[in-house]
Structure formats: C-alpha cells, structure tokens
C-alpha cells in the first residue's frame, strides 16, 4: 500500500531528501569511523529504515513529543537535525545529549521534541501514552509519537499501551518500524497473527499499513493519521514495512548469519532504497544535479563540523560520576 496519492510539493520533497540524507550520511560516518574505537557505545543502526522516522517526524512539523527505541539514530536526527549533540554523545563528551552518560541507545532532546529513546524493548511505548495524557491535560497541542520495532509487539506492555490509549481516548501515534525481525528471529516465529494491524484494530485504534518503502508515502500517511487521531480522539497504529540493512547491533552486514538472503533483500529493498528514490524525485522536480550535489555537500560539511566539535569537546571529569543520580544540585 502506498499513501502518496499525489506528488508532494517540491519544497517538501527537498526537505524529506535532506532529512533522509542527514540520517544516512551520519550513519555512514559511524560505519567508517567506528573501528577507531572512539565511539564506545553499542550502535543499533537505522540504515535502510530511516524513511519511517523521517516521514513521520517531517509530517509533524515539530509539534511532537517523540519517543524512540534503542534503534535511535534516525528518529533523533529526523526530529532534531542536531548532529552536534548527536555525535558528542556517541563520542562520550559533555556536550552530548546526555553529557556522555547515555550513549547511542539513550538520546534525548526534549527541548526539540525528541523526548527520549529507551534501551529495553517496548519500555518507551507506555511513556508516550503518558505524554499524550499530559499533553491533553496541559493543552500543549503536541502529538505523542512512539517508534518501536515489530519485536516490541511481542511484549505485553505494547498491548497494555494500545488498550490504555484507546480507553483514555488519546491520539497517540504508534509507529511500528516493521523490519520483520527481532534480532534474527522472523515475525512468523514469534506471532501467530498474519497481520498485527488486524489484532490492534479491535482494541480501538485506527490502523494503517504501508509497504511502499517510500518516504513520501509515509509522510502522507502520517499526516492523515495524526489529523484523524486528533479529530476522533483515537490512537493510530502505523505498521510500516521496512528493512534494516545492517546487523541488529553493530556496523556490519549480517548476510553470513544465514537468516535472510542477501539477493532477496537487495531485490526487494535496497534496489528501491528510499534515499535513492527521493533523490530521483528531486530531479523530476527540476532540481539540477548541481543543486542536489550542493545540498549533499552542505550536509556532509555540517556532519564533519559536528564531528570536529564533538572530538574537541571536553570528556566528563570524574566528579560527574556521582552527579545527577538523585535530584541534588548537579
């Protein structure tokens, strides 16, 4: 299913391309430099499935409280575009999102609407329901969005959260980044239902399926889902099929594990990579190759600058070890 009913405006297409490119290139930097052992934090890479977070976060235009899983990079960058604090955290510097205490799995920028990402599967899901509850009570006009994988739908708290959001009539946007695997265990080996949406629906949520692999489709779907969720005071469940290009954790590929076939993945997913598709779209919008290259160059330079700032930022001093455990002056 695809939700891009008509081509999006050129400005939106460019914005989506920029956001996708930023996430992809940031992770390509990580792949290249991780072996230097200066980013000492387990990386759960978004590569390949960035279009889900980029599509949804772009559709919310900043008026969102985003909650993400340990596969946090794309969600964080899609919502904040903040490569400075992103790389600082990965390098364990005081200028990072968690002053170097959180690492890749625990990125946060509540001032920019990325509330947090959580390292234990599914734990962030009920928290997003709580944010939606408070947003309604405090009349903030913000939308709570939670990203999680299909593995999180194995967990009881996912179902508790869907039920609570429907029961409390909260417009929570549940986004399942459905890459089909919990580490290397396929969904069929974990869940009996043919379709998660079919099970979620009777709980009282609107459900949406998307297997387009296309950022504009996800963007359009999210726009529609958010509007309807607020209008009808119901949660929305977006099941977005996607593909993780790399291994579950780490920067390598995992074709040698034998649980999925490289040629099939390439044919079904990598050949229609969302970033490549979006780049082609820019050409269709009459954006010249030189202009696209200039956009890419600008983002590359921004990443390089962020990395440089991160590597020059202070490392935490020993006094920070005990600071901030409780709510003493820290």
């Amino acid at each position: 299913m695809s939700f891009a009913r008509e081509p999006l405006p050129k400005a939106t297409a460019i914005q989506l391309f920029k956001s996708l490119y930023l996430a992809r290139r940031s992770e390509e930097y990580i792949v290249k430099h991780y072996p230097e052992n200066l980013m000492r934090t387990p990386m759960h890479m978004s590569m390949g499935q960035e279009f889900v977070c980029v599509g949804v976060c772009s559709a919310l235009e900043g008026k969102a409280d985003v909650f993400a899983s340990y596969r946090s990079h794309a969600a964080f960058l899609a919502q904040t575009h903040d490569t400075d604090r992103f790389f600082s955290e990965l390098y364990g510097r005081t200028s990072g999102t968690g002053e170097g205490k959180g690492g890749s799995m625990h990125l946060a920028a509540p001032d920019q609407g990325h509330i947090l990402s959580s390292g234990v599967v599914a734990t962030q899901i009920p928290v997003a329901v709580g944010a939606a509850f408070a947003n309604r009570q405090l009349k903030t006009g913000r939308t709570a969005v939670v990203f999680f994988g299909d593995g999180a739908a194995d967990a009881g708290v996912f179902w508790e959260s869907i039920n609570a959001a429907a029961l409390f009539k909260l417009p929570v946007i549940f986004v399942c980044e459905d890459n089909g695997y919990a580490v290397d265990t396929p969904r069929e080996a974990r869940q009996m239902s043919k379709s998660l949406s079919d099970v979620v629906k009777p709980f009282g949520a609107d459900t949406y399926e998307d297997d387009s692999g296309d950022v504009e489709s996800v963007y359009s779907l999210a726009k529609e889902a958010v509007a309807k969720a607020h209008r009808d005071r119901r949660p929305a469940f977006l099941n977005i099929k996607c593909c993780r290009y790399l291994e579950h954790v780490g920067i390598g590929t995992d074709w040698n594990w034998g649980y999925r076939d490289q040629a099939t993945v390439e044919r079904e997913w990598i050949d229609r990579d969302a970033l490549k598709v979006q780049r082609k779209r820019l050409a269709e919008h009459q954006v010249s190759e030189a202009a696209i290259a200039a956009i890419e160059d600008e983002i590359d330079k921004a990443i390089q600058a962020s990395v440089k700032r991160a590597s020059q930022a202070p490392i935490p001093t020993p006094d920070r070890l005990h600071a901030g455990v409780f709510y003493e002056k820290a």
Binding site: G96, T97, K101, Y327
Partner: protein
Amino acid sequence: MSIAAVKPVQGTRVLSYAGALLETMDAALADHANTFIMGQGVDDFKGIFGSTTGLAEKYGAQRVFDVPLMEEGMTGVAIGASLVGDYPITTHIRADFSFLAMNQIINLAAKYRYMFGGLMRCPMLIRIVVGRSWGQGAQHSQSPQATFAHYPGLTVVMPSSSQAILDMYPAIINRHPGPVISIEHRLLYNLDFTVSPSEHRVPLTSYVARKGSDVTVVATSVMVLEALRAAQYVEDKAGISAEIIDLNSISHPDWDLVAASVAKTGRLVVADTSWLEYGVAAEVCRQLVVRDPGLLRQPPTMLGMAPAPCPTAKSLEDIYYPSQHETVDAILTQVKGDKHGIALPVERSMTEGYKRFRGPF
C-alpha cells in the same frame, strides 16, 4: 485506638494514618492543577483503604481514576505524563503488585535524570501498601524497601505514622523533582495518632522517635511503633532507656544520626519489616562497620521476617513476624544479656495489639 506507648506530645488533634493520607491527597489535588491520582480502585467506595475516598467525586474522573490491570503500562503512562509536566500519583494496593512495574520503575524512572545528563525530570509519587496478617500469604505481604533503595535514583520512604505522612507528602508532591516510592503499611491505616502541625521536621530523612541512652533501636514503618511500645515496656519493667530511630527515608537515611546514637549506647537492635538478608538490617550494619568497627560493644540483634515466603496459617504467621515478645526480648538481651530474667509480654501476634485491625479488607 491509640497505642499506649505513643505519648501524645503537644499534639493538637488525633488523625488516623488513612486520614492523614486522605488529607495529603486532597491537598495535593487542590493545590496543584497538574496532579492526578491513578490506580486500581482509587475511585471506588473503598478508596485505597480510605486514603482516596471521595476524591474522584470532588475533583473529577480526569484527575482521580481507575486503571486497567496493567501495572507496567500504568507506570509508563505516569512516567510519560511526568516528563511532559504533570505530577502523577500512582497506587498499588499491595507492594507485591508493584513488581509488575519494576521494568518501568527501575529501568526508566530511576535512571532518567542520570542517563540523559540532567535533561529529564521525572517527578512522581508511587504509593505501595505492605500487607500483614490475617493470612495475607506469600504474595500479599512483601515489603520491598531494600529492593527499591538498592537502585540509585529512587527515593524510598516508609512513613510510620500520621505525622510522618503530614511531614513528608506535601514536601514530595510537586516539590521533590524525582520519583519517590512511599511504602505504606496496611496495619497502620486504621490507627489513630496524635499529630501536630508540620513545621519543624526535615522530612525526607531519619529522626529520633524516642530519646534514650542504653540501647539504639533502628526501626522502619510499623516496627517503629512496635519498638516504641517495647521501649515503654522495658522502661516500666527494667528501667531501660531505649533510643528509637525511625529510619523513615530508606534511600536517604541520616547515618550520622544513627552512628551518633550507637556511639552513645554501644548497643543496637534493628527492627525492619522485611527479610534481613541483603536488607535494611544489613545496610545499617555496613554503614556502622565502615565508619568504625568499634562503635558496637557487642553483636547487634536483628529483627525481621523469617527467611521464608509468608505462610497463612495463624500458628505460622504469628512466628513469621517479630512480635512484641521478641522486640522486648531483643532490647532486654542487648542491655542485660540473654539471662535478663525479666518477664516478657505474652503478646505473640501483632493483631492482638492492634485491636481495630480485622480482615477481610
């Protein structure tokens, strides 16, 4: 009833533990528009043993509401609401049920401030109630203060009286910027205490509940009351002066206060509501030994639950918990040795001392 050993000290009125809870819950909702209470049964006629009765009617279902049986989900909802600016109060009518929420409490709430470099504030109050007696059994009687206090980031308190609630809850709700777990005790709910206006106490730490010079008794929750009763008994029967310290804050006790008392008396009894192994009793000893192994003149005495799941048969339940009999014996033995020869109270079951306490509830 009033416990005889608890002398009314310039009290201005009598207030039950449940009544103190209801007053502080009511005041929290009245004073802070962002505060809400949720939990199983908070809006029904029993109102968490009378601690939330009538509040749903008074403040509306948006602010005091029942929840599905989903402890982890509910706690996550509270955390999320807290992060965005609300002040949630959640309840578990038995502490045992909070174990379903451990994932959220320990993996999230306890760590958010630290893990996100101070960006996160997660102020919330989790009220959990320890059950005891009348055949509560293994899954309705546990007292997890050591478990929660073990994890850095959680503030854990155990109010032992109506005064402790009046002192602490207004200082916690909407003022303390982190997650607080208050472990309330079911046996205390129906007891009347004399209370005075809350002005002078430092709330989130320990305090001396009774001054003394011969032996130090460090106690938690309902065991503070048991210790106070025992202290009166040993004073009357043997002229012994026991100093009782209510640990009160399990995560942030006043160890200086405890050490100073033990330095004075040289003798120690620890009376806790839970198991001794890896628990509060063990921590009290660790704190003292690390400071000065010479503080104690003799080996201390430890009172807690027997190292078993809680049995329901009254004959077993009565000996599962330390009674007034054992508490008095511990104090006498510390001061006069195990051949003290002083008659012990015959009371072997706590319910005999708490006449108003009756099941079912």
